[in-house]
């Protein structure tokens, strides 16, 4: 926008050729380049330049596509209802220029529209048909008409069977990325045929499919296969993998998480030929990660990342893993409750190159491990250690001193104090910091962060009750790139914090659930200055009323999700929200004070609504035909009836939680 203004001042339009403008536009970040309102010439230029579109309503497709006739990428995720008519519009107006189409959040189209699309858009390379739960084999046969298709997503198309996949396999020979996640009707035969017919496949997602190891014989013969996802394939067991011998040198990533029937024998044959494997995910594996199990990793010594989340791990197993795969850079051990200090220390001692470590909920770990990590992994970029509550506050001092490259740090529910934060503030590239339920930190510690970590994008202070306006204002002053902040249940925070946070103009997500002291005034300040605001959670902020929502509705045109449950909002505020074009999720669980007709008008006004959470009492008050109408438009309803629970004291709340989880 600034550039546009400068141009207007000097009026050098004659010197500016179309090509130059296009080059300038290419360099401006994508979401700032709507400059068409400046003059007629720019209006025309934009229609020539714009390649990707994300329309908010499918009804306007004819007009939009006539204007932007060079559209190559069309994202219809904001359009919950895309009819065959709309698809035929896309087919006729885009024709061969269209390359990619996203229909993953849309419904109510059928084989006829898809056929029109497939026949007209001969250069269609990518299509996302996920969540088309009504899609049958006949529709899949139509998709097969799109011969040039390379990337196809069919996640959660539950009605599809082998026959439909067979049609696609034969029709779309150029496929290189296929996702069949949750296509529970597709079995060995369909997947096997896909592997036989489409030789170019690089990425294949077979998560939660009822396949056995039989089809893997064909799949692992694919010459270019790089990524294979087998998450939750219970049929893949040792027996069906017994005779598997392959030589899939191209395989880089294998996700075998939640494969309950896969033990180290099956894994050994699965990994037998994958010498170049880099990433392996074995999360929620049924067998114990022991010495035997680790021996199956012999063939994959080049491994860089391993995921063992939720497995039972023995110290011997960890030792063997780090001996066999000593180039590991990422290790994930979240929810491995059996990890001990001994095992983890031996692991991190061997892995000097470690970049990412996830030890979330490894509750047996103490400060010894953390000290060892800090001493032996100076290159650490990401450390997630939520709920390692045995770790003493002194251990955190070392982290800041040794691991200067940290970018992501999750210290939720830990004993860290202000001194720890002071040492962490020396990690200059820190971009994500989570300090939820850290009861020992105060404004003083937070001010170190605000002064040191100027690159911070995400800050989580959920239930860190020691924080007040002072701490927030130092953060707002120092971290101007902040995009996400969570100050839920920090009860001392007032409008002052919000006013200071409004300086962070890049703010997208603002969560202030359960802050009784913030009012509409503070919200208005944020709404006015943070233009990118997309997600706002104001639940249980009783001082928020309609005036706050009016400000939001007027200024925050990018808002997608809002929660105003248990606030003083009435139908006036709700109705004003209809002004926001891209609003998708709305949660208004208010037991009294809302008139049904007002809510009805608000719901009808928000044309792009996908999800509405309302109080159960409204269900009977709203006309049934209206609810049906909205559901047909693609809006799902959730009816809540939880009576207001008394707020608990945060410290007491934590004690209670620990009693439940030993």
């Amino acid at each position: 926008m600034k550039k546009v203004k400068q141009i207007r001042v000097s009026k050098p339009f004659d010197l500016l050729s179309e090509e130059l403008v296009f080059i300038i536009l290419d360099l401006i970040p994508s979401d700032l380049k709507s400059f068409s309102l400046t003059c007629k010439w720019f209006y025309q230029l934009e229609s020539k330049h714009r390649r990707s579109l994300k329309p908010l309503r499918s009804d306007y497709l004819p007009r939009i596509l006539t204007r932007f006739h060079n559209t190559t990428d069309l994202d219809l995720t904001f359009c919950p209802r895309v009819t065959d008519y709309a698809l035929s519009v896309v087919g006729c107006l885009c024709g061969p220029t269209l390359h990619s189409l996203d229909l993953s959040r849309s419904a109510s189209f059928s084989a006829a529209g898809l056929l029109r699309l497939a026949v007209k858009c001969v250069n269609l390379v990518e299509i996302d048909l996920s969540n088309a739960t009504e899609m049958r084999d006949a529709d899949a046969a139509v998709v097969a008409e799109a011969r040039s298709l390379e990337r196809l997503k069919l996640g959660r198309c539950k009605m599809l069977t082998d026959m439909g996949i067979g049609c696609i396999a034969v029709g779309c020979k150029k496929l290189n990325m296929v996702s069949l996640k949750w296509c529970v009707g597709v079995g060995d035969l369909g997947v096997g045929l896909l592997a036989v017919k489409c030789k170019d496949i690089r990425t294949l997602d077979l998560s939660y499919l009822p396949i056995t190891g039989k089809c893997l014989h064909d799949i692992l013969k694919l010459q270019h296969l790089e990524e294979l996802f087998l998450e939750g394939c219970f049929g893949v067991d040792d027996d069906s993998l017994k005779s598997l011998r392959h030589d899939c040198k191209s395989l880089k990533k294998l996700d075998a998480s939640s494969c309950q029937n896969l033990t180290h024998k099956g894994l050994t044959s699965l990994l037998s030929g994958a010498a170049c494997l880099q990433r392996l995910d074995l999360a929620h594996c049924s067998s114990v990660i022991s010495l035997d199990f680790a021996s199956s990793l012999k063939k994959v010594s080049a491994l860089q990342s391993i995921g063992l989340d939720g497995c039972s791990v023995t110290p011997d197993g960890l030792k063997a893993i780090c001996t066999l795969c000593n180039s590991l850079k990422e290790v994930s051990l979240s929810k491995c409750v059996s990890v001990t200090d001994e095992g983890l220390s031996s692991l991190v001692m061997k892995l000097k190159d470690l970049r990412k470590l996830d030890i979330t909920c490894c509750r047996k770990l103490s400060g010894v491990s953390i000290t060892q990590i800090a001493n032996s992994c100076p290159l650490l970029v990401s450390l997630k250690m939520e709920s390692c509550s045995l770790v003493s506050r002194e251990a955190f001092w070392l982290i800041g001193q040794k691991c200067r490259l940290l970018e992501e740090l999750d210290l939720t529910d830990n004993e860290i104090d202000d001194e720890g934060l002071k040492s962490i503030s020396s990690c200059l590239s820190l971009s994500s910091l989570k300090l939820g339920i850290c009861l020992n930190i105060t404004d003083k510690g937070l001010s170190y962060i605000g002064m040191g970590c100027s690159n911070l994008r995400e800050l989580d202070l959920y239930r860190s009750v020691g924080i007040t306006d002072v701490g927030i204002s130092t953060i707002a002053q120092g971290c101007i790139h902040l995009e996400t902040i969570n100050i839920s249940y920090c009860q001392d925070i007032t409008d002052k914090s919000l006013v200071s946070l409004s300086k962070c103009s890049l703010l997208q997500t603002f969560e202030s659930r359960g802050c009784p002291n913030i009012t509409s005034q503070g919200l208005a300040a944020i709404a006015v200055r943070c233009k990118r605001l997309a997600k706002v959670d104001l639940k249980k902020c009783p001082s928020i009323n309609d005036s706050g929502l009016l400000a939001l509705a007027h200024f925050s045109q990018n808002l997608k999700q809002i929660n105003v449950s248990d606030t003083a909002v009435t139908e006036v505020g709700l109705l004003s929200l209809a002004n926001i074009g891209c609003l998708q999720n709305i949660a208004v669980v208010i037991s009294s004070g809302l008139s049904p007709s007002g809510v009805a008008a608000a719901l009808l006004g928000c044309g792009g609504l996908r999800k509405a959470k309302l109080h159960a009492s409204l269900r009977s008050l709203l006309p049934l035909s209206l609810i049906h109408h909205l559901e047909a438009r693609g809006c799902a309803f959730l009816w809540k009836d939880n009576t207001l629970q008394a707020e608990l004291d945060p410290k007491y709340w934590k004690q209670q939680l620990e009693e439940i989880v030993p």
Binding site: L53, L56, P62, Y85, G91, C92, A112, G166, N558, S625
Partner: protein, 507 residues
């Protein structure tokens, strides 16, 4: 060997020259020594001229016996591949035989001088043939003995009998066809022998692979011996002519000429022609006549008369047929028109009536179909078929396409008997589904819009820039926008803003 042959020729030459000698006055010096040396023999044979014939006959008998022994001897070789003692006995046996032959030749030579007046040229030829036959048998023995010495040779190869041992004792081939068979067999034998000597293992592996590849072809022939791996040459190959194969009857009564399909039926028929056919021996199965003590019957295999067929003996990877029934079924299935059509589907054709009957049992039960019209009873078979052939796709069965009641009646009429264009049915159904959907719309219940124009792929060509108008705008859309207008007026914002705002709003 050659020297022996030469010797033999010399002898014959000398004897023939001798026979001419009295006529020709000038006796060559070179033959003179021979002449003088043979004179002793002459004297000896003069003495017992009358008896002179008998020893020769005796020798002939001996030779026949030795032919018999020859077979036994070869079987000995067959039984034990390499044994020095057997080898020694073999060699001494051969030595003995050579001596016998030498004696015989001597005898003939000696007698030749005397008989010249009485025996004509024909008799001389007969003698010559006799000796040549004997020589050849010696040569064969030598070869087979030498063959057993080669270490890399497969056991059964080394024991493969020579071409002539099939007819022990018969020097001249009685029938032209058999001669043909034997000749090709020996050729076959030689070929394979050479291959095996060069690369015994790879050849075998290669054959296995070809089995796998052409498995689907093999399946048609139900009685094919897949596991049987007879080495070429270990069996006798018979080839029936096309007419014989296709003839309705194969057994004919020699008296009245009536034809029968089975030999047993013929034998039953023969009883009517006289009492001599009613004896137990005449009614017995002829195959079982073979004397238990004699050598085992040579296995018989059959060749298809169609040139270029894999079942033809000229084919490189020849695979013989086991029985005459196999030959008949194979020939009809592979090289004849399929004249029997299934009465249910009217598509499948067969040349063997038994195949038709088998098919008719299952016809209609195959629900897995391919775009080429082939049906399968099993899903995995269909997918195997599709994986094998380029361009074939699974055809979605009609019932699966739309389970709506409204269209099923319409569909029922067109459904009858079209097996070939199933792949195209989807388009019609597509339109049907739209119609369904339209009626299912909320706010559409007044039924103002009738979706008459069928959505067919033909329309695409005519569809131009504004062609999408053939989809009528839905009632629903209008209602929505009117709703919006209402609210817009109430709240004081213009709907145009919403319309123009693409994901990123301009500020």
């Amino acid at each position: 060997m050659e020297t022996e042959d030469d010797l033999c020729n010399n002898n014959w030459g000398s004897s023939s020259s001798k026979s001419r000698e009295p006529g020709s006055s000038d006796g060559g010096n070179q033959t003179f020594t021979g002449f003088t040396s043979q004179q002793k023999w002459e004297d000896a044979s003069i003495l017992d001229y009358e008896m002179g014939v008998e020893p020769s006959v005796q020798v002939f008998d001996e030779m026949k016996a030795s032919g018999q022994a020859n077979v036994d001897f070869l079987q000995g070789v067959r039984a034990q591949a390499w044994d020095p003692r057997t080898m020694l006995s073999n060699l001494s046996f051969m030595e003995q035989k050579i001596h016998q032959l030498q004696d015989l030749v001597h005898l003939l030579v000696g007698r030749g001088g005397q008989l010249q007046g009485r025996l004509d040229e024909l008799a001389a030829q007969q003698q010559q043939q006799l000796i040549t036959t004997d020589l050849t048998s010696i040569i064969i023995q030598l070869i087979s003995t030498a063959g057993s010495l080669l270490p890399s040779v497969k056991h059964n190869m080394s024991t493969a009998p020579g071409p002539y041992t099939g007819q022990p004792g018969s020097a001249v081939f009685p029938y032209a066809r058999e001669a043909n068979n034997v000749a090709s067999q020996s050729q076959n034998n030689n070929n394979c022998g050479a291959q095996e000597f060069d690369l015994p293992k790879p050849v075998v592996v290669d054959e296995r692979e070809s089995h796998v590849v052409e498995e689907h072809e093999m399946k048609d022939e139900d009685d094919v011996e897949e596991g049987e791996n007879l080495p070429p040459g270990s069996y006798e190959i018979l080839q029936l002519e096309k007419e014989e194969i296709l003839a309705p009857h194969t057994h004919f009564c020699t008296i009245c000429g009536k034809g029968f399909k089975r030999d047993a039926n013929l034998r039953m028929h023969m009883r009517g022609h006289g009492d001599e056919y009613k004896t137990a021996a005449a009614l017995a199965k002829p195959n079982k006549e073979s004397v238990p003590g004699s050598e085992p019957m040579l296995i018989k295999r059959y060749s298809c008369p169609f040139l270029g067929c894999k079942r033809n003996k000229e084919h490189k990877k020849f695979q013989p047929l086991k029985t005459i029934l196999c030959v008949k079924n194979h020939y009809k299935r592979t090289h004849c028109d399929k004249s029997f059509t299934c009465s249910r589907c009217h598509t499948k054709k067969f040349s063997v009536i038994a195949d038709l009957k088998t098919h008719e049992k299952h016809c209609g039960k195959n629900k897995w179909l391919c775009s080429c019209g082939t049906t399968f009873s099993r899903k995995d078979k269909l997918f195997g078929h599709i994986a094998l052939f380029q361009g074939h796709t699974p055809a979605i069965p009609l019932e699966e396409m739309k389970p709506s009641a409204s269209t099923s009646a319409q569909r029922g009429s067109s459904e009858g008997g079209n097996n070939n264009n199933q792949g195209m049915v989807g388009f019609n159904l597509g339109s049907a589904s739209i119609a369904n959907q339209e009626t299912a719309q909320p706010g559409m219940t007044d039924g103002k819009i009738s979706f008459e124009e069928p959505f067919s792929p033909m329309n695409f060509d005519t569809c131009n820039f504004g062609g999408f108008h053939e989809f009528p705008r839905l009632m629903f859309d209008d209602s929505e926008s009117s709703f919006q207008m209402l609210i817009a007026n109430a709240c004081g914002f213009s709907p145009r803003n919403v319309g123009e705002s693409v994901s990123d709003t301009s500020l």
